[in-house]
Symmetry: C2
Amino acid sequence: MSQSPPDLYQVKEKMYVATDCIIFGFDAGRLKLLLFKRELAPLVGEWSLIGSFVRLDEDLDIAAKRVLKNTTGLENVYMEQLKSYGKKDRDPGYRCISVAQFALIRLEDHDEKLVEEHGAHWHDIMKLPHLILDHQEMVQDALERIRQKARFQPIGFELLPEKFTIPQLQMLYEAIYQKELDSRNFRKKLMALNVLVKLDEKDKSGSKRGAFLYKFNNGNYQKLLKSGYNFEIA
Amino acid sequence: MSQSPPDLYQVKEKMYVATDCIIFGFDAGRLKLLLFKRELAPLVGEWSLIGSFVRLDEDLDIAAKRVLKNTTGLENVYMEQLKSYGKKDRDPGYRCISVAQFALIRLEDHDEKLVEEHGAHWHDIMKLPHLILDHQEMVQDALERIRQKARFQPIGFELLPEKFTIPQLQMLYEAIYQKELDSRNFRKKLMALNVLVKLDEKDKSGSKRGAFLYKFNNGNYQKLLKSGYNFEIA
DNA sequence: CCAAAAGTGTTGGTAATACACCCATGG
DNA sequence: CCATGGGTGTATTACCAACACTTTTGG
C-alpha cells in the first residue's frame, strides 16, 4: 500500500488473474488454517493466504495445485474451487481478480520444512490474525462452504489420517460446526452409514484404554451415494 | 495477491476475464433458460449463454448485472456467483477465464422486445440445444447449485410473480427437482413455515374453481432464519 | 485404586410419508 | 352436469434428541 509500483498506471490497464489457496488441516482437536507471513513490501509482516498468478498456459485448478505443491509438498489432495473475488479495488496494486480454492489436507503428510521455508504457520481457525486484502472474507466463505458440504458428504475424512478413531472424527465435526455432539448419537448415525471399516488396532495416544482405529470405505460410500442417501451429521 | 507480476504478463498475450450469465425463469410449469443465438463468427448460429468481458474498472458482480440489464432490462434481481471456468483451452480465441453467475428472474417482468433484439430465446431446461464452449457444464452446475440451495432457502420465490398460488409454487419445485410431490404434504410443510400471506384474491387462470393467491413474507422468513430453521422441501 | 476417556441402549417426541375424497366452477 | 384442478385429514413409520452408566488401563 505504502509502496505502489512505479508503473501503477500501466499495471491497472491490465486484468490479472490470481488464485489463492485456503488450506485446512486438523490437529489436536482443532481446525487449522495455513497462513503466510509476507516478507516483501507491500504489507510486510502481515498474514495472508498463499497464492500465485495464474499462468497463461495453465488451467485454473492446475494453478492452485501448483501452489499447494510448492508450499506443502502435497499432491492429490482434496481441493475445490470456492469462488472468485473481483472487487475492482480489492488489491491496491493491480486490477486483479482472485479465484479462491480450498484444500483439505492430512497434517501428518505435509512437508513441514517446506512450509517453514515459506514463512508459513498453522493457525487455529478460532484465533486467526488479521489477513490482508479480502482474505478474511475468503476464509469465512470457505468455512461456510465446508459446513454446508459436510452435511451431505463425508469430506471430514480428507482431514484425518488414513486410520482414525471415532472420537477423533467426532472432534473434527465438533470443530467444523463449533458445537458439541452427543457421542452415542454420533456413533450410532455414523455406524448406520456403513462406510467405516473397523480395524484390529487401537490408538492409545488419547486415553489409557485406547480407541479402536477405523478406515473409510470409499466403495460403500459410492454405493450409498447412488442409492440417494444423504449424510447430515450435525 | 500483490506480489510482483511476472514479466510474461507484460509481454505476452493477455489473460481475459469474462462473465457469463445463466438466466433462469419459470413459466407454464417449466423451468426456462435464456439462451442466445450467435450472429457473428466464429460459431455462428450456435446457442450460448450471454456474457461479456469484465471491464477494468468494474466489480465482477457489477459486470454480470450490466449484462443482465442490457439483455433483459432487469435490475435488482436475485443473482449469485456460481464459479469460474478456466481451462486453458476452453475458448479457442483467447486465453480467457469466465466467471459464471446465475440469475433468477420473474418472466413477467422482463423486457421481451429487448430479449428478441439480442437474438435470445427461452428454452425449457429439459430440452436444451447444444451450447458452445463449456456453457453446458455451467448450466448443469447452476442447476445443481439451485437444487442444493432450494433445500434450505426459499429461492423459489424469486422465480414467481409477487402473487402466486400454492399449485404454482409446487410446480416450480417439481420442475427444480424433476420429481412429483404430494400436494397435501407440500402444502402442510409450507404452511408450517409461516412465510406465506394468504390474499383475498384468486387466480382463475389455472382452473375453474380458482386458487388463492399468496405472497411471500420476508420478515417472517428472516425471523425463521435466525431461529435456525431449515427449509428442506423435497 | 482412581482418573480419564471409550463405549454402549432405550425412550418419547417430532416429522416424513402414504394415501382418497369432496369442493367449486366454467363451459 | 360434468370435467378440471383446488383443497383437506389421518394413520403409520422412521428418525432425531435426550439421557447415564460401565469398561479399560496407565500411572
